[in-house]
Symmetry: C2
Subunit: 293 residues, 2 copies
Amino acid sequence: MNVKDELRAKARDVEAFLADCLNHRNIPERLRAAMDYSLMAGGKRLRPVLVLVWAELLGLDPEAAMPFAASLELIHTYSLIHDDLPAMDNDDLRRGKPTNHKQFDEATAILAGDGLLTEAFGLMLSAALPPERVVSAAQAVAEAAGARGMVGGQVLDMQYTGKDAVSLEELKTMHSMKTGALITVSCLAGAILAGASAEDLGRADRYGRAIGVSFQIVDDILDVVGDEKTLGKPVGSDQGNDKTTYPKLLGLEESKRQAEKYRDKALECLAPYQGVQADFLRALARYIVDRVQ
Amino acid sequence: MNVKDELRAKARDVEAFLADCLNHRNIPERLRAAMDYSLMAGGKRLRPVLVLVWAELLGLDPEAAMPFAASLELIHTYSLIHDDLPAMDNDDLRRGKPTNHKQFDEATAILAGDGLLTEAFGLMLSAALPPERVVSAAQAVAEAAGARGMVGGQVLDMQYTGKDAVSLEELKTMHSMKTGALITVSCLAGAILAGASAEDLGRADRYGRAIGVSFQIVDDILDVVGDEKTLGKPVGSDQGNDKTTYPKLLGLEESKRQAEKYRDKALECLAPYQGVQADFLRALARYIVDRVQ
């Protein structure tokens, strides 16, 4: 099985859980429909899969980690709904479908995002695992998703858009907060839930950071050279938005070299591990970068 | 000391904690300023005080409950910021000052709300208390603040605005979700953190529900008969917004009688308790209703 198929197979398990996680809850119908609309709109389910694979790699039954894993997708989904709002990126389409505020309305989209973020923490805290691990993992997620992480990164992204003199350092910090933090904490949370040693926690954290950076660099490259159909979004949208990107600062060739450097960093972190989960994580680190070959 | 002074004194302890809780964190400056602006804009700090008093009543050092207590004010504040947005209530003023999106901008206001909600869970989970209590209390907050509680109540409120045939049952459900749930869970969380018995948890929960209802009825009454200066918001705004209220459905006199009935229910829950904390909770239940005498 290649890594794409394997990722898809793991994503299917996550989707089965997600499809059910808002049911049997006393949520007003219109709100539930809006939350569900974006939650079930597809996507790679990368963050939950990272939680599950790191948990299993370090000895935890992945079923025990599923509610926590799923919560990362709720957080990712809420962030997309709010980012698409007219006051932010003002996008009409997401994965080929109307964005939440286009399908419903702006107020409902804001509240669907708020609801998903709050339910995410409810889901995390429902994990039937030792409470000190749950507290520690959920705290890490709060830090990564909040004002010091994803939300703060979105603010920086808005500040940098249209600004000429964004340095490589600023670009890296912005991306590490906006998208890197949630990817990293997915790996870390899986390890925390498994009761991992300090060494294993460190490797999960560094692996997450490394694939987060290479993922972003490749995303920037694909925005220049990619094919609209493969991406599901308009090519060149970063240029249209006047955003600073890695290719803009480093050129295409050096950007590719950087992506490969971070892929190799990720692979290094996995050196101590054997077995199917480790192999999947290695293949994933390669696949992220191979998208531009 | 009367209950107003006592509430103010307790609020000051909370404010000292709140003033510091976003500092020393790596938050982009504009975002931190926007979060701080609304968090420090005043208010009774009722929800944190309820956490602290119920925790102390049931034997916990209130200092240990402070981070958790403060988190309820972060959640309350985020909900006000999002409710004030143009797509929702479109308010320009809050407590006599420009609303967050007027002072900053709409995108920043949305993100400041998102940041406060996420940091709230980080703060809850940082409480140095037995982790199983922290998990249970934070789970209760997630349920009360989310799609089944506060967020869901806001959706119902929007659906009911301008609609003629809102029943008393619908009005009660909407308020119990939109404002009641967070007040109730403040009492309950204090009790959970203190490691309370099932009986004590039940009383904290019922007390919270009762004062939540009387608080809302009195708010509706004050919107009809109150004085603009005392309230800090325009009198008659509910009528202007075409909202269904208790006085509209029941008349002023019956609304007052209902508020008194719920005050008495709250007092009943406190019957087993003695001491200064119990006396404060009794005085608070009376004060909420006395505002319309």
